[in-house]
Amino acid sequence: MRLLTHNMLSSNIRGVTNGIPLRIEAEKVIEKQVGFNPDFLKNMFSKIEWKALVDASRSLGYSELPEEAPESSSVESEEFLRKFHHALLELHLDEGALVCPETGRKFPVNKGIPNMLLHEDEV
């Protein structure tokens, strides 16, 4: 699971009013390089919940992203874009869990695949 995906996931358990962001428990992290696409990164920059991304990247062992949400002009800096690219697309949570911030319920991540299905009593 990439952090791009994590940034858009929300706990959808019945009754939960604030299901984002899911906290990450990382057991195994993998890095995979992938093509650099500034257009895509600029598009994503406007959607990203920054703090969630920073916290998530730190839980995967990457601390190069600035704590504070960067100015939109930052996307013109290649140095920034490369760090953003790395955090967003190249870090993979392979084994671990995503934790609902409100209930503590854990959604497992196995072989890079999150399972977000709810149990009978959660719908």
Binding site: M8, N115, L117
Partner: protein, 397 residues
């Protein structure tokens, strides 16, 4: 946004990276190409410090990190929640796809042109959500977009993941995505597996919810009006009474001894979309049609006689899937499916026969489901290869 030419590829790292660099036109080199020496640093495992052990009990009482798809408990009557999966779908959609996944995937390779056109028309750099992605046939179809796929079948999702796609296991009726995040969404041959109108509507609402204002949603579903009419005679029609009331756990009637009707239906993996059919179709005959009428109409008989319902009003069906024995043995799920009466053996064909539940759509039905949505409008609708299709645009956040 710049026009791009296929320089964003998200496949297995080293393989696609090389391909990307080779195909990258000169003029784009300075903005798109990162071509370091390939093989040496594609994968590096980083162990992250984990603050909590695997089995920490959390507030919600959840201490199991394993795949936690639950089997229904013994509950009486209907759940009031539209999100709760009816037994009919658990038995005749979820379990079937999990059992047949690799075989099913091997027959799903032809890319439907209308879907390809839609995906290729999206702006470069779009985030595309495929809800009910199946074997991931459309993921990555437009190399300039980022695809996120989800499906309710862990087996199908595993096939997608093995191909390098970004995917998760989720329910199309309750997408675990934040509102308004995606640039576009697709739902290809999915909604016809939902057994109530409320659930079908909810799934459409979810597709619209998860895209941004101005985002497009493409939905395709099997049509009542099949181009190959002989195909429909190979399906088992279900009475609506059966479908509407089918909410409790356990089915005495599915366990009934082999119904003569199912054995006599010729096999097909056709889905009305012109997919490559591996086994040859048999022509329907009058004799075959007679055999669809069960000799004794028990109270909970699920099949309808020709007299009960005109076939063109019929929208609820079981559509057979023939899983060859050698495939069934590999998957392992078929042994229990046979024991539970969920599937039957056809020795003549050497296959385990599963049934998939379908609600096929009538003309205009898909559009009618969207008529009371106040945040989306229909921008296109069409019929193509036995499917009804619609494109929605989200009009307000």
């Amino acid at each position: 946004m710049l026009q791009s030419h296929g320089f964003f590829v998200l496949l297995n790292a080293s393989r696609c990276f090389y391909k990307f660099c080779k195909t990258c036109p000169r003029s784009f080199v300075n903005i798109c190409c990162v071509c370091p020496p390939l093989i040496s640093r594609t994968m590096r495992e980083v162990k992250a410090k984990s603050a909590f052990g695997l089995c920490t009990a959390a507030a919600g009482g959840e201490s199991n990190i394993q795949d936690s798809v639950s089997v229904s408990k013994d509950r009486s009557c209907s759940s009031s929640s539209v999100i709760s999966t009816p037994e009919l779908e658990k038995k005749y959609v979820h379990r079937v796809y999990d059992a047949i996944a690799p075989h099913f995937s091997s027959t799903r390779f032809a890319k439907w042109p209308k879907v390809a056109t839609f995906l290729n028309s999206l702006p470069s750099g779009s985030l595309v959500l495929d809800a009910g992605c199946g074997n991931g046939k459309y993921l990555g179809l437009n190399p300039n977009c980022f695809f996120l796929g989800c499906d309710i079948s862990p087996s199908l999702i595993k096939i997608c993941a093995d191909r390098g796609h970004e995917v998760l296991v989720a329910d199309a009726v309750n997408l675990p995505y934040r509102t308004g995040y995606g640039d576009a969404a697709i739902s290809i041959a999915v909604l016809h597996h939902l057994s109530t109108e409320k659930r079908r509507k909810k799934a459409i609402e979810e597709l619209v919810r998860v895209v941004k204002k101005g985002g497009l949603v493409l939905i395709t579903v099997w049509a009542v009006e099949q181009e190959d009419k002989s195909l429909v005679t190979k399906w088992t029609p279900l009475s609506e009474k059966y479908v509407e009331e089918w909410i409790g756990p356990g089915s005495p009637h599915i366990r009934s001894p082999s119904s003569p009707t199912l054995e006599s239906i010729p096999e097909t993996e056709e889905n009305g979309m012109g997919e490559c059919v591996k086994e040859s179709k048999e022509k329907s005959t009058d004799k075959l049609w007679e055999s669809l009428c069960l000799p004794s109409q028990s109270e909970d008989n699920l099949a309808v006689s020709k007299d009960e319902k005109a076939i063109n009003n019929q929208q609820e069906y079981f559509v057979p899937w023939h899983l060859p024995y050698h495939r069934a043995e590999v998957s392992g799920a078929s042994a229990s499916a046979l024991a539970n009466g969920l599937a039957k053996k056809d020795d003549k064909k050497g296959a385990v026969v599963y049934n998939r539940y379908y609600h096929v759509f009538s003309a205009g039905e898909l559009e009618r489901l969207t008529s009371d949505m106040n945040n989306a409008v229909v921008v296109d609708r069409f019929y193509d290869k036995s499917n009804w299709c619609i494109i929605l645009e989200k009009t307000s956040a």
